[in-house]
């Protein structure tokens, strides 16, 4: 095995100089030509690898009997179950990968074997996804290439090729609504609308090569990779042990799985309340949630009111930039209050709403003072204009008297 690997690797530079595989296959028609055409844009081709690097054989020979000779290492089409190890021959080799991608990980196979896909394939289920299902076989592109099926913007659709396939998923008893739900989520909106490539896609939560559904106990940890503070607060809350006992997956109890919607204070009480799913109306839990909602809304309204008065003062030319800057403190307190909801502790929320209200009060006062100052200025202007008008009138009278004494001008 190691001998054949060495031979294959030695073939790589030669492939760059001569590759009869591609020459012949490009001249063929139909499916036999496709690999040669697609390989032209493949990242491996750009790095100097040829067909023989994976399929073996001798690409320097024009005679098919020699170039595709088993004696020369030709393996032909790689069966699905052998694909992961075929890829891993290079991708598991740190010293080789270092020459092309020094920072690339080399544990993809290890991870893959732990994944549900890898486990299925190991059990002989050839429908289990393997490397080529996500990356393609002959036209493999780098993940950062927007055309790549593994690019963050395309990955959901790539996963959805199988996971939205009702016939295929029926064999495993899996739902097929994940893609549709994800594409209705705030995460997808951030990714697709705002082009925020750091927004979570399928692989962010499930892993890529080691793809597996997060267990109930690890949901919070998965969400916490991005929402670290929220996870920390949730772990301190009364909900965490309860959800664990109830075998319910942490964050997803309130926020859902794939269809994670934009959060709002309305999730606490009212028609859209998620708390109401467990806490009956009038119960202590529902009352606590309603109080949190009320305080947060109160702070938001106060900050909005301050924004309005400051905007009005600014429109009238008043310098209120300090108060406007201070408003950011209030907005930050509002965010912190909303975040503190995850503690399910009213005192934690109140600590931030009180701080925010103090800011809102101060900025409101600053806005009012600015408007009072504006009015004072206008009053001063009125008085000054009267004085100026009087002065002009006085000068005019003087001029008239002067000119009356010297008629003819």
């Amino acid at each position: 095995m190691s001998v054949s690997l060495t031979v294959l690797l030695m073939l790589a530079p030669a492939a760059a100089s001569r590759d009869t595989c591609r020459d012949c296959h490009a001249a063929l028609e139909g499916p036999l030509a496709k690999p040669a055409v697609e390989f032209a844009r493949d990242v491996h081709a750009h790095s100097g690898f040829g067909c023989a690097s994976c399929h073996g054989g001798d690409p320097t020979q024009e005679d098919p009997a020699l170039s595709m000779s088993r004696a020369r290492g030709f393996v032909g089409k790689i069966v699905r179950t052998a694909v992961p190890r075929a890829c891993a021959r290079c991708h598991n080799d740190a010293s080789l990968m270092h020459k092309f991608k020094p920072q690339q990980r080399v544990d993809q196979l290890t991870q893959y074997l732990t994944s549900i896909h890898g486990k299925r394939l190991a059990q002989g289920d050839t429908a289990g996804a393997t490397c080529t299902d996500c990356h393609g076989a002959h036209g493999i592109l780098e993940v950062r290439n927007p055309q790549a099926p593994t690019h963050p913007l395309r990955l959901p659709a790539t996963c959805g090729r199988c996971h939205a396939d009702t016939r295929l998923m029926a064999r495993y008893g899996l739902a097929t609504n994940q893609l549709a739900e994800y594409q209705a989520s705030f995460h997808w909106e951030a990714l697709s609308q705002r082009r925020d490539l750091s927004a979570p896609g399928c692989a962010t939560c499930h892993g890529n090569h080691g793809a597996t559904p997060p267990e109930v106990s690890s949901v919070a940890a998965v969400c916490g990779t991005c929402h670290a503070l929220l996870e920390e607060l949730f772990r301190k809350s009364v909900h965490q042990p309860l959800f664990a006992t109830m075998q319910r997956g942490g964050c997803s109890v309130c926020h859902g799985h794939h269809k994670v919607e934009r959060t709002s204070v309305d999730m606490l009480d009212g028609q859209k309340s998620v708390c109401a799913g467990c806490h009956e109306p009038g119960s202590p839990g529902a009352r606590l949630a309603a109080e949190m909602g009320r305080r947060i809304r109160e702070l938001r309204s106060a900050l909005d009111r301050s924004d309005q008065i400051l905007a009005r003062a600014a429109r009238d030319g008043m310098e209120v930039s300090e108060a406007v800057l201070r408003q950011q403190e209030g907005r930050e307190a509002l965010v912190r209050a909303r975040v503190a909801v995850h503690t399910a502790n009213l005192e934690e929320v109140l600590a931030w709403t009180k701080q925010g209200m103090a800011v809102a009060h101060a900025t409101w006062q600053a806005g009012q003072e600015a408007l009072r100052e504006r009015d004072r200025r206008r009053m001063g202007l009125g008085v000054s204009l009267c004085a100026i008008a009087l002065a002009i009138a006085g000068l005019w009278l003087k001029l008239r008297s002067v000119e009356a004494s010297r008629p003819g001008l």
């Binding site: 310098e319 202007l381 008008a389 002067v402």
Partner: protein
């Protein structure tokens, strides 16, 4: 008895001053100074209004100097401090800014009125030239003062402006470097512009203004030639008749200035961030808009010159042509080139107003 003593004391003082200052000669001069009266007399007030606004600039500028700090790290904050913490600081700063703009406007009106009323004719060529130079200094005041609050629009407008200076053939790059104190607009540029704004330009303006006013006194206010030929143009005494009217005009200007400053306080904007991308719609002050928009409209190359070079040469020649008005406005036989003068003046006004409006809205 007491009144007689007071009168006697006043006369003594008057005599003491007269002996040292020769004040009577000035009084006699003013008593005999006259201003022609005709339908265009009102235009004469704009020179005085410009002078009045310059005085306001000096006074408010000195007050701003008490708190302003000319460094990139402190300039914006110091202006903010003036606006929010200093008693009437907002008014002083707003008046300074509005007065600067009104002064440019009245200086332009004064220039065109002098051109159309033929105030540049012999022997007033130097009065005209010194006036043109004063207008140039006024624009330089505007350009240098615009940067001083160190806000975003000022920063990028100065960048564009100094880039244009760098396009001047031959001396441009060196001149731009001199103005900026380096290759980019930095704190060094701010310090330099401050120096120009409060020392170099005021010194030059004071000297030139002294010359301009001395020449106006020396030759008096000109009478338009079409009235001069009729003879016996009515005159009014400068003191008090014209002076009283001028004072009324000054009060009126003060009222307009106060209204603008109080109702539309000059905004401070956001602090300049040299590392941020230039915001959209950056444009210079309104009085540079016509030139700015003209340069924008030019094709990338004209003959062997790049558009900006060709544009600056063209605008420079136009300014020189206009400054040289006294030397081409009259034929050697003594007759005026009326059509050429009127045509040039009207076209200039049309270009300045149209392109300024287009430059503002596009």
């Amino acid at each position: 008895m007491e009144r007689a003593m007071a009168v006697q004391a006043a006369r003594r003082w008057q005599g003491w001053l007269e002996e040292r200052l020769g004040w009577d000669r000035v009084r006699m001069f003013l008593a005999h100074k006259e201003v022609p009266v005709h339908s265009g007399t009102a235009w004469y007030y704009f020179g005085g209004i410009t002078l009045f606004l310059f005085g306001i600039q000096v006074a408010t500028g000195i007050l701003l100097l008490l708190y302003y700090r000319p460094t990139a790290t402190e300039a914006y904050e110091s202006v903010q401090f003036i606006l929010t913490r200093v008693e009437f600081g907002w008014l002083i700063r707003s008046i300074h800014s509005w007065s600067a703009n009104l002064m440019v406007l009245t200086a332009f009106i004064h220039m065109f009125s002098v051109a159309f009323l033929r105030g540049w004719r012999r022997p007033r060529e130097l009065t005209w030239l010194s006036g043109i130079l004063l207008l140039g200094l006024t624009l330089a005041f505007g350009f240098s003062g615009y940067l001083l609050p160190w806000n975003t629009t000022a920063y990028f407008a100065t960048k564009v402006g100094t880039d244009l200076v760098g396009s001047v053939p031959l001396a441009g790059p060196a001149l731009a470097r001199f103005l900026r104190g380096g290759d980019e607009v930095t704190g060094a540029t701010l310090t330099r512009f401050f120096g120009f704004h409060v020392a170099v330009l005021p010194a030059l303006t004071t000297a030139l203004l002294g010359l301009h006013l001395a020449l106006v006194q020396r030759f008096g206010i000109s009478t338009p030639p079409w009235l001069e030929s009729r003879g016996d143009v009515p005159q009014m005494p400068f003191v008090p008749n014209f002076l009283l009217r001028e004072l009324m005009a000054w009060y009126l200007a003060l009222g307009v200035l106060g209204m603008l400053a109080a109702l539309f306080p000059w905004p401070l904007g956001e602090k300049a961030d040299p590392f941020a991308p230039a915001p959209a719609g950056i444009r210079p002050e309104w009085y540079f808009l016509a030139a700015f928009y003209t340069l924008k409209l030019l094709p990338s190359h004209i003959w062997v010159l790049e558009s900006e070079q060709a544009g600056l040469i063209g605008l420079g020649l136009l300014a020189l042509w206009w400054a040289a008005l006294p030397f081409w406005g009259v034929r050697p036989d003594g007759h005026e080139r009326t059509r050429l003068l009127t045509g040039t003046g009207v076209l200039l006004i049309a270009w300045l107003s149209t392109f300024s409006v287009l430059g503002y809205f596009k």
